[in-house]
């Protein structure tokens, strides 16, 4: 592999890492901080992608408007979901959380089938971002991928700031440690968690929305995202936004270079790396206490 290829592959890995982080970011909040095993995370991602399809084919063509409408809509859906289902889960066993959230996967898949059918659908890349930048004489880099990378970085920054440096973030962290104590201090914990959950849902849906134009919108698309998101959150250290970013990068580099160096074992390489990391640090890279 010559130096140019190596640089481009590194770029591929960084870009993939950013996408992985974005996709897992919603789970970092809901699983990492609120400690709910949310198997429906992939479905949230899928809902975002179908939302992008629905909005782009019927209501609005412009990207900023689409994202704005999508974010508001998904915050609302997340809010209602928490109120109707997840609110009952905080004090429950993990098994019950798994049962409910797995049930939700089935419900969302069936709804998807009823509303949109089972065909593979596509969302066109917005006109303004449709170009490519030439890297070598044969290879170009799609502008849209750069847009996604920037969006991921912004989202990562915002999330980190929210958790670490705002009053809301402080309450969230405190609430995840000791719910009753926070409540005793006069904070409306139910509303707080409802908002956090809604933000988590919004992040997952947002990643689905902006990923839609570069992938496809299809049945079962959430399942692929689910496993890798859990891998990212677990390796990163549960509850750590910074850890999730580092973990996403580790996984992305393992994936890209695994495919190039040991193509026959590319499928398991990522999980091998995960196993090694967890042997080294069972609590994840950025473990707490």
């Amino acid at each position: 592999m010559d130096i140019v290829s190596l640089l481009i592959q590194t770029l591929n890995a960084v870009q993939y890492g950013l996408v992985l982080f974005l996709v897992a970011s919603g789970l970092t909040l809901i699983f990492g901080i609120m400690r709910i095993i949310n198997l429906a995370h992939g479905s949230f991602y899928m809902i975002g992608a179908y939302m992008a399809f629905g909005l782009s084919s019927g209501i609005t063509e412009t990207l900023p408007a689409m994202i704005a409408v999508g974010l508001i809509l998904s915050f609302f859906i997340g809010f209602v979901l928490e109120w109707a289902f997840y609110a009952f889960l905080y004090q429950r066993e993990h098994l019950e959380q798994v049962l409910l959230t797995y049930g939700l996967i089935l419900v969302f898949e069936e709804l998807r089938s009823i509303l949109f059918g089972n065909d593979v659908l596509g969302v066109p890349v917005p006109e303004a971002l449709a170009g490519s930048i030439p890297l070598t004489d044969t290879l170009s880099y799609p502008v849209y991928l750069i847009f996604i990378s920037v969006a991921c970085l912004i989202m990562a920054g915002l999330l980190y700031y929210l958790i670490r440096h705002t009053r809301l973030g402080m309450m969230i962290r405190a609430g995840s440690h000791d719910r009753n104590m926070v409540q005793a201090l006069g904070i409306n914990i139910d509303l707080l968690f409802r908002i956090v959950f809604a933000i988590g849902f919004m992040l997952a849906a947002f990643s689905g929305m902006i990923s839609a134009p570069m992938t496809s919108v299809s049945p079962g698309m959430g399942n692929q995202v689910l496993i890798i998101s859990f891998v990212v959150v677990v390796i990163g250290g549960i509850g750590s936004v910074g850890g999730a970013m580092v973990a996403a990068m580790v996984i992305a580099f393992a994936d890209v270079f695994g495919k190039l160096l040991v193509p026959a074992y590319a499928g398991m390489f990522v999980y091998l790396v995960m196993a090694l990391v967890l042997l080294w640090r069972p609590e994840g890279i950025f473990r707490k206490g």
């Binding site: 592999m1 010559d2 140019v4 290829s5 481009i8 592959q9 591929n12 870009q15 993939y16 089938s113 059918g117 089972n118 065909d119 593979v120 659908l121 596509g122 066109p124 490519s132 030439p134 070598t136 044969t138 290879l139 170009s140 880099y141 799609p142 849209y144 991928l145 570069m214 992938t215 496809s216 919108v217 299809s218 049945p219 079962g220 698309m221 692929q224 994936d255 890209v256 495919k259 190039l260 193509p263 026959a264 590319a266 499928g267």
Partner: protein, 390 residues
Amino acid sequence: MKTSGMFRNCLAVLATLLLPAATLAAEDGKLKVGFMLPYSGTYASLGHAITNGFKQHVDELGGKMGGRTVEYVSIDDESEPAKATENANKLIKRDKVDVIIGTVHSGVALAMTRVARETNTLLINPNAGADEITGALCAPNIFRVSFSAWQPSYAMGNVMLERKHKNVVTLTWKYSFGEQSVAAFKEAFEKGGGKVVKEMTLPFPNTEFQPYLTEIAALKPDAVFVFFSGAGAVKFVKDYVGAGLKTNIPLYGPGFLTDGTLEAMGDAGNGLLTTLHYADGLDNAKDKSFRNRYAITHKMQPDVFAVQGYDAAQLLAAGVEAVKGDIARRAELVKAMEEAKIASPRGNFSLSKAHNPIQDIYLRKVENRENKVIGIVSKALADPARGCKM
């Protein structure tokens, strides 16, 4: 001694009494067709298309084959190989079907084929392309009316030779159908003097193609051959175009790349060349009448899967008519099916010794979201049926 003799007599009387009834049931009873197809999940639309196609031909026959009314039982196989054996057994033992039609997913089809072989149940496979089904697993009671993985890809090898490509890179998912497709392509392509510079695979159903595209750009082959289908095909073609490769390094593949995926690809699919046993805009009367009728009944255009369902019914009818509905005459039934000349919407075909269609493979070009036929690449192409001892 005496009692047992009487008992035997009684049995004999009973048997003579029952015998006509049994024969009557076989002649006048209904013909039970068991669909084992995906009616939920990713392949649900394929399962429905096959069912619709099959029923369309049965309706043309007035709902009867060989004088017997056709009756349907269906089971959703969910494209789940783990449930395949149980589901096939349900149709055979619980529902006592006369013939099974199925299925789409190759893993499920392989398990079904094994069950059908063990129980000697008549099976018509309307889609799944795994080479083994009419290869190592071939049997007198196993038929396929679709294609083998080998056929379209082997034909594509010849297309790429004709188009003067010398060095080619291949890419597919690391699973049986993808690997069989690449092997068939390579067989034809290298026999004609071409060279496969690099065979790349990625784990199924991974769609992170960027590292491979970078490698293809660095290798600068004359062309690329891929097998992908469904959502993966959409993403691959979009990524290939996004990486600017489509203008410099032409992309080819078997028709699954562009079947049912063109709407989702948008303009990215334009101009792609693929090979398959069916195409849009075929110039034959059978296809036109088939499509018209399908469009009127179902308010949508038929696809290759509907054609395969339709042909499954044609093949079955050929056999059942020949024995006048008495399907217990299995040897004659099978012989009639083997010798059937099927007037398919795809063009006429007959079956090979291993019961796979000997058919024309078309070269198609994507135009206006359709796979327009350009011509026939391989006339009457027969699968080599490797490993078949029949």
